[in-house]
Symmetry: C2
Subunit: 320 residues, 2 copies
Amino acid sequence: MTITDDIIRQIQGKDRSVLARCITLLESTAAQHRYASRDLLTRLPRTSPTIRLGITGAPGVGKSTFIDAVGMADIANGKSICALTVDPSSPVSSGSILGDKTRMSQLSLSSEAYVRSSPSGTQLGGLSSRSYDVIRLCTAAAFDYLYVESVGVGQSELDIAQATDLTILLMQPGSGDDLQGIKKGIMEIADIIVITKDDGDLAPQVRHMQKHLRSAVPLQRREGPVPVLSCSALSGAGLSDVRDAIGGWIADHTSSLKEKRAAQESYWYEKKASQLILDYVLASSTIGAAYRDSLTGIHDRSQDIYQALDHLENLLREGL
Amino acid sequence: MTITDDIIRQIQGKDRSVLARCITLLESTAAQHRYASRDLLTRLPRTSPTIRLGITGAPGVGKSTFIDAVGMADIANGKSICALTVDPSSPVSSGSILGDKTRMSQLSLSSEAYVRSSPSGTQLGGLSSRSYDVIRLCTAAAFDYLYVESVGVGQSELDIAQATDLTILLMQPGSGDDLQGIKKGIMEIADIIVITKDDGDLAPQVRHMQKHLRSAVPLQRREGPVPVLSCSALSGAGLSDVRDAIGGWIADHTSSLKEKRAAQESYWYEKKASQLILDYVLASSTIGAAYRDSLTGIHDRSQDIYQALDHLENLLREGL
């Protein structure tokens, strides 16, 4: 794939088939795609009106259904939508857990939406550095809203918060996702909390959880408490409140958003530059050879890890 | 601290105050401790009878209580115990969540046990590369059993599985930790599953969960199904079954354990060597300067991340 001015224009025109081909290019691990991939990324327009929303929460909480419902409401209000979802694969079997990749049945059929599912790979749902590239590409396509779904485990929530403007944490009533069981670190990065499945039977549990969460210490921020809402993707109840809260957050943060995005770019530069340096050092020089020798030796039990590290450090001290 | 032969002998003699000082040394980030730290690690004996058990599970499931109860039963059977616990701190506030660091009230008072709590730092509960050093140190002290507690979020379970011989996953009844909500990747690394809090009232829920889990696909291994037990740390019920299951696992895996540990050493060498290389490259040469310039530029929005990566790659191509 050669990156032409036409391709950049088609991306800006939200051309789905061009977007799909570009994402496949960015996700490729093949060596021959590296140059085109870098070329594409350096040529992307740097400004975009797109608001990026990270949607996170435990497996089964209803992230896809939520994006489907909120996204359709956005479209009904004349907005364009992009939804990037992560297809969870397990670290051991590397297989897909949810066979059905595209679970956003309404959005997938809408001409105002572009939905793409990417494999989560071996990162236990962590947003890989490649996913950030895909997010940058879809930002350049200038959709009004870009939804990024994470599989909701540990590192991925922190990574998703480094790639989106605001983070919406979904929780379900009676799921043990209450203050006892919740990962406190995740609550601290949530900008809006939405309790899902607020359908008839669960209403009392939803109210109880909402009250409980509203008094939770990690949700008391300097700029005011974090909104704790509820909705039902099934009945549509509460969805307009959720959309209002998102709009309110955006209005409140217009001035600080540029700075936040610059800090995120720094975060990803650090990650990507580190990997690049490591790739180069290990591909060349005596360091790479010593590294591989030690890996084999440690595996054979002929070398000790700390002695191997000592040896490596001596080589590094002698100069690269 | 100078590492003498005496210190190595005291470690092997399970001297608590020496162990405590050595762990403080290994956890220190101060530059002047680096040499002694590496010296200590290279001089540790490489063989040890210690069995290392990783104890993982969601916050609130009762990991500390479990280790306290099982560890006391081990001691009653003439065994020596070391328990390393992680003090969860949040990524945003960097503060401790559980003020009470030492929650193993019985073990802490026993002369046959050494209990140590380490801060989890900024890794969202991930077992840092330093924690692995501490585990190696305590392995050299030749306790019969070394329990390592992880805070139970994402990456940390995978890391803990790379530092211990077997992983015990704790789950509590009615916690939403059932098949719907569970992190499938974690179930795949569990060697034994124990449902906690099997006290009177919760018994029916425990039975239901146990039956449910026993039929779960991720628990069907080539070598047979993963044991799903239950216990009450409060009443002591089920604890001997848990200890039997651990003994059974060890007996079944004696021949493969050496190979598993060698593979783990390789995993940690890869992590530590990568960090070492990066530290050296960034501390010296034009690469380090370009890296820091770009970080500043990206933060100031005067540079684009992908153009900065292009620049870095050109420098790397010219040679380190």
